[in-house]
Symmetry: D2
Amino acid sequence: MSNRHVYECPLRWGDMDALGHVNNGKYVDYLQDARVDFLFRTAVELGVDTLETGLLVARHEVQYRAPLHFRPEPVRIELWISEIRGAQFTVDYEILDLEPTRTTYVEARTKLVPFDFTANRLRRITPEERAVLEGLVGA
Amino acid sequence: MSNRHVYECPLRWGDMDALGHVNNGKYVDYLQDARVDFLFRTAVELGVDTLETGLLVARHEVQYRAPLHFRPEPVRIELWISEIRGAQFTVDYEILDLEPTRTTYVEARTKLVPFDFTANRLRRITPEERAVLEGLVGA
Amino acid sequence: MSNRHVYECPLRWGDMDALGHVNNGKYVDYLQDARVDFLFRTAVELGVDTLETGLLVARHEVQYRAPLHFRPEPVRIELWISEIRGAQFTVDYEILDLEPTRTTYVEARTKLVPFDFTANRLRRITPEERAVLEGLVGA
Amino acid sequence: MSNRHVYECPLRWGDMDALGHVNNGKYVDYLQDARVDFLFRTAVELGVDTLETGLLVARHEVQYRAPLHFRPEPVRIELWISEIRGAQFTVDYEILDLEPTRTTYVEARTKLVPFDFTANRLRRITPEERAVLEGLVGA
């Protein structure tokens, strides 16, 4: 738990679909904003800005555990790094409420690949990036 | 200014389009969330819950003043009631930053009509609703 | 009618909100796709590609006439140019079904300004652009 | 191939994000519309309307193979049933262009569970539903 990054994710009323639940596709947007919060903000604070724009999503796995309805309060997203390889790393997430009892809405996993948009090709993870990512390796 | 309701509107990275600006259609979602914040939360706190589900949007006017880019900080939306009639009222908005200098991104106006979804017809504004709305009449 | 451009706009199931109607903000996306269809496709066919990327939305007015529900069939959007000025032009739209009886869901208007993204400033409408736009002036 | 359902999925200009690609989350919306096309339209034509409203998404897996850019032409989605169990079935998809050369953008898989919204509980697949689903079992 100690290595999890926490993002308080605001909901929008329009995230609900005609069934009155947050639509399954919107959670993928929530995961994106949780990653942006980690990669754009935290990583830049740590002095590594190459993660900010140079990543592609290679794979998502999203497991739906319980339906979520709109409310003014944000929902909590905890994320952490579950694997770092030479040219790929994996982010795991849990979307949940802690109160009144712990309720998990979604468990998910994203594989990300560093990409050099100037050269238009995949690239390896740099040592500086690895150091930042290793700080969030956990479960 | 004293009669303005303030909503701190979070942005999402995905709100930006291929031009790198918040897409013009997303502002309409922002306005919706500002209304929800006022109508669902503030009005319910004041004891009027009929505004919460019984409204239809009749008209939007949106004037774009300056482009907005994603950033982790929310953007400020100020909204107030500019007109109350028998079966219709109007919300005016300004989307802006106060710092470092006051910058207005959007000025907008929405006409709303109370609707009885059970009877499937328009209805008049009730005296209780009018009292809540009058508290936000301003400029 | 003869000067109207017609765009058959596909709906998505997720365009409906928790009230079971197409959400008011989604119509603004529909209008964008109708403009893109005109500006990207028709105009390029006519040999004018500067309209394709060099426009900013300055203002929207959207009047909601009737609710729309998801169905597999597209909805019809008719659009035409209602005004051309030196550095601004206006698109009017009607979102409607012709069958079984003519039903109008939305009437809307967008003011667009040509913008030179390289120089980062407003620019005037060129004679070639004006010729294309004049072909759609109508009511 | 013979058991694949084909859906021609229209793109929207706004599906692109600030990197100029269709955003990874939009593909999940595309998959939803491909399912709706199968479940709402084809299944209803076959006389089974219980699949139309009584399903929950339990899991998505989405593998991104190549980036996609907006164009006026729809992208092709082929989908088929890869597994039918007592109270769950699985849809596999491929998002692709056939021309000028076969290009796969996304491969994906969704687990769906029949749900009785009136009783608010999971339910088993009926024999009639199974017959329709078996017609699309394939690879």
